[in-house]
């Protein structure tokens, strides 16, 4: 089983701050996915990164896939309360995903 380690486990910040969360593994992944899960909901896919070194932007969210395809990061600029949720990385996509334990982000007004 390929393991994904996410850090930090919990992050509490004020609105307007920037943050980065990490997803690391000792294994190489063909690609990684990032999800956000809000309380009482299922995870929602944010992005899939497939190429080593790839950077993808989704409004204020920037996702990066490491050159060696063993790690990924999610950077949020000017966080808003609506960004609050559990951020999960998972890989590989299609068929049986392996999920990290997630980073719980709380953004206070």
């Amino acid at each position: 089983t390929q393991l994904l380690e996410q850090s930090p486990q919990f992050l509490s910040i004020q609105e307007g701050e920037n943050l980065t969360v990490y997803c690391n593994s000792s294994s190489v992944f063909s690609s990684l996915q990032w999800y956000r899960q809000e309380p009482g909901e299922g995870p929602v896919l944010l992005v899939t990164v497939v190429t080593g070194g790839e950077v993808k932007k989704l409004k204020r969210l920037t996702f990066q896939f490491g050159d060696a395809r063993k790690d990924s990061s999610l950077h949020i600029t000017a966080a808003q309360p609506g960004d609050t949720g559990l951020y999960l990385c998972a890989g590989p996509p299609y068929s049986t995903l392996t999920f990290g334990k997630g980073t719980m982000l709380l953004v206070s007004p």
């Binding site: 690609s31 299922g42 995870p43 998972a90 299609y94 990290g100």
Partner: protein, 113 residues
Amino acid sequence: SAVISQKPSRDICQRGTSLTIQCQVDSQVTMMFWYRQQPGQSLTLIATANQGSEATYESGFVIDKFPISRPNLTFSTLTVSNMSPEDSSIYLCSVVVGTYEQYFGPGTRLTVT
């Protein structure tokens, strides 16, 4: 994309009973999965629901405890049998659309007393 609904959304059950969770998708999909998310934990894959054949279970999960049906390409059920408090979790179904896109239902929050 895919829109997934689950029933029930939540339930409180007594020890020793069984609960069947339904998952309905708004389009035909080949791959459908069932996950468990225990309190404060990440998602763990229970099984792949195969249409027309027996489900494929992950290590630690067995058919007698979690029987799964998949009568067609838009519907599946997961039964949690002979429940104990340790089965208290959120149960999620998911489907894969296209190459990479996986969509999840809203989950069923189960509490066993």
